[in-house]
């Protein structure tokens, strides 16, 4: 399901922002892989229980957000782009996407604090796999819960966009943040469990997250799709438990 449904997704004026967002997601993925390969900043050197700083965790969260959530912003960007005046389409869509991603980055603050607290207490040795696996199971259950479905309705609400000026900019930002809140509710548990994961599993989980988010936002997942996603996450939980 796309916010642009029923809207005019035109090709006049400038290219729709879809390609740019795919590029941004690709760049995020390159950065994510590099952080795993880089011996200095690689995650392998931040084993559970190691002394990671807020900056480390937040930096990794931001990269993860760009890699996995940029595609989720495609409907948002398309809608704003198509429903704004030609001469301010890019600005309006960029503001909305920026607000969306910044919202996600801000949400990383409590997540990072929680991860660090857990790393210094529970996430030591074998306990790490159990916690990550448990978090994934919670995320899987959330994926098919009625509560999530009800709350995710806000992801599909759009905001009337004024023609121009400060009100138009404010509406773009508000729309972007509204989308962040909706996505936090629906994808937050999965993102949080990813923040806990370490090593190659983290990359695998990020790939799974990207696939789920892209399917949900670009194609539209209905009951069967949601169940398949939950099954995939549960399988991930088993793999993490066994690997741990």
């Amino acid at each position: 399901m796309s916010l642009a449904s029923g809207a005019f997704v035109g090709r006049s004026g400038a290219r729709p922002p879809t390609v740019a967002l795919f590029g941004l997601a690709g760049a995020g993925w390159v950065a994510l892989v590099i952080t795993h390969l880089d011996p200095a900043g690689g995650h392998e050197h931040h084993l559970p229980g190691a002394d990671r700083t807020m900056g480390d965790v937040l930096g990794r969260w931001a990269v993860m957000v760009v890699a996995t959530m940029a595609l989720a912003a495609v409907p948002l960007a398309q809608h704003v782009f198509a429903n704004s005046l030609r001469w301010r389409r890019r600005r309006a869509a960029s503001l909305a996407v920026l607000a969306y991603l910044c919202g996600w980055c801000l949400a990383g603050l409590p997540v990072a604090a929680g991860v660090i607290a857990l790393e210094r207490t529970v996430l030591v040795g074998q306990g790490s796999a159990v916690v990550v696996s448990g978090a994934l199971l919670v995320a899987a259950a959330w994926q098919i819960s009625r509560a999530r479905r009800r709350l995710s309705a806000r992801c599909r609400r759009s905001v009337p966009l004024p023609l121009r000026g400060v009100p138009a900019d404010a509406a773009s930002v508000r729309f972007g943040l509204q989308q962040t809140v909706g996505c936090l509710v629906t994808c937050g548990p999965l993102m949080a469990s990813m923040a806990l994961a370490t090593g190659p599993l983290h990359l695998l989980m990020a790939a799974m997250m990207t696939a789920i988010v892209a399917s949900e936002r670009l194609i539209g997942l209905h009951a069967r799709g949601r169940s398949a996603a939950a099954a995939g996450i549960s399988l991930g939980a088993v793999v993490v438990a066994l690997a741990g």
């Binding site: 399901m1 916010l3 029923g6 429903n83 030609r86 309705a153 023609l163 209905h222």
Partner: protein, 480 residues
């Protein structure tokens, strides 16, 4: 019945001179029998209605809440739904000793003298006067069950039939826009908006017909939809490029239904394209049905879909709140956008102009249809009839429902090219913008107020003390 093909006939023609034509009496008795079946029986009245929509929790395995609106599946899904319902009703009719050629009537409200609810649906009792009439439903809009007449001129199907394409590209399109197989979406076809949605609201108000979760409980629902189905066939017969989508995504979509034995069957959109193959026709159609065009070789596209070069050029500054009275909003045209459009195109004049009502939100259907008019914002301009179309809010509960898979604000788009041209010819079109007016559309008084046997307005659904508000987030103008 020729070659096993049954003919659906107009209810008003059947109603004259005797309101209780055998076809209608058989329908009434079959409805009564189906209403007595347990709701868990797929052939019961309650179950059949719940396939369209219900607020009740579905029993395990039940396929309820399946109706398709605001989507290119609107017409085929409802055709197949009616076809299977008709098979179930016919089986009951035959069980009761009725005719095997029984077919569902349709209500062509546009025929002369057919603009009021058919008399068999207004009578409290069946012939003889002792048995309550199952076709009579008290939850209708006030006035409709006392012979109130539909404002046919404002509900004319001719506007929808004039569309040459099935899918809106994006303004005008007969059948609806591309979408997944969802309940409510944002791409209603012209026929779905008017007369379909408007009729639901004008007949049902805030009662059964006005609510997709209860609409199919009303026996008139099926006759109304048979008429919409007939209009689909009429549209194809009009030719001149009018064809169904050839897209395989559309053609191959499957929907489950239950047949007269209660067995679940899967039906594809392709199977819905020939009424004669389904075993019925309409008395207004030619004997020879046009051949069904094959599906396109490619997986997407189709002759009715094209890229659009739409450009926003103006919009209202504030939302419009509709509360049962006339409301107006100014749509300002952005000079820079208009100049930019003209600079980027060969012609200064846009090929098409579209008016969009966006982000329409409301908790419930207010049971009111609004006419949409273009009015010049120029002082002293002539106040001509610039009727854009109607907007009604059938299904807004679904759109606003958090339980809906595709909840978001409704959006309606109207092609206003000709109206803008008329405003321009009269010197009433200004570069600054245009005013859009919303006027409530009501029933007309009955032709004959003498309706002794009919119910009174006391039977009508109770209207809220204050009209239910609906908000239109933005009214905008697009050039193509």
């Amino acid at each position: 019945m020729a070659d096993g093909v049954r003919t659906r006939r107009d209810v008003w023609e059947l109603s004259s001179p005797d309101p209780w034509h055998p076809v209608l009496l058989a329908y009434a008795r079959a409805v009564q029998a189906m209403q007595q079946r347990p709701r868990t029986d797929v052939r019961s009245w309650g179950y059949q209605a719940a396939i369209h929509g219900t607020t009740e929790a579905a029993p395990r395995g039940a396929r309820w809440n399946e109706c398709k609106h605001g989507s290119w599946f609107f017409l085929p899904w409802h055709r197949l739904y009616l076809d299977h319902f008709e098979r179930i009703v016919r089986a009951v009719v035959v069980e009761q000793g009725g005719d095997e050629s029984w077919a569902l009537p349709y209500w062509n409200f546009e025929a002369p003298g057919a603009d009021a609810l058919p008399p068999a649906f207004r009578a409290r009792t069946l012939p003889g006067g002792n048995t309550p009439n199952p076709l009579f439903v008290p939850q209708w809009a006030p006035g409709i069950n006392t012979g109130g007449r539909l404002p046919v001129a404002r509900l004319a199907s001719s506007r929808a039939l004039a569309a040459r394409t099935y899918m809106p590209p994006p303004g005008a399109g007969f059948g609806g826009g591309r979408s997944g197989p969802v309940q409510f979406f944002g791409a209603s076809g012209d026929i779905e908006r008017t007369p379909h949605n408007d009729m639901h609201v004008l007949i049902g108000g805030t009662g059964l017909m006005g609510d997709p979760n209860r609409a199919a409980l009303d026996p008139i629902f099926w006759l109304h939809h048979a008429n919409i189905d007939r209009l689909w066939s009429e549209w194809i017969e009009l030719g001149q490029g009018r064809t169904n989508p050839t897209d395989r995504t559309w053609r191959n979509q499957r929907f489950p239904f239950a047949d007269e034995r209660g067995t679940t069957v899967q039906r594809t959109v392709t199977q819905s394209l020939s009424t004669q193959a389904l075993g019925y026709t309409y008395d207004t159609l030619a004997d020879d049905e046009l051949p069904v065009a094959p599906a396109a070789a490619t997986g997407s596209g189709g002759p009715t879909r094209r890229e659009t070069a739409m450009e926003l050029v103006g919009a209202s500054e504030a939302p419009v709140r509709l509360v049962g009275a006339t409301a107006r909003v100014d749509v300002e045209i952005d000079r820079r956008a208009a100049e930019s459009f003209a600079a980027g195109n060969e012609s200064v004049t846009p090929a098409r102009v579209y008016l969009a009502l966006e982000d329409i939100e409301g908790d419930r259907n207010p049971g009111i249809v609004y006419e949409v008019h273009l009015v010049s914002s120029r002082r002293g301009a002539a106040r001509g009839d610039r009727h854009v179309g109607n907007v009604s809010f059938f299904g807004i509960e679904h759109v606003a429902s958090p339980d809906s898979d595709d909840a978001h604000g409704m959006r309606h788009v109207y092609d206003v090219t000709d109206l803008v041209g008329a405003l321009g010819a009269g010197g009433d079109w200004t570069r600054e913008g245009v005013r859009v007016e919303f006027r409530p559309l009501g029933l007309l008084p009955p032709d004959d107020a003498d309706d002794d046997d009919g119910p009174t307005d006391d039977d009508a659904a109770e209207l809220p003390a204050t009209p239910i508000p609906v908000r239109i987030g933005r009214v905008s103008l697009f050039f193509e």
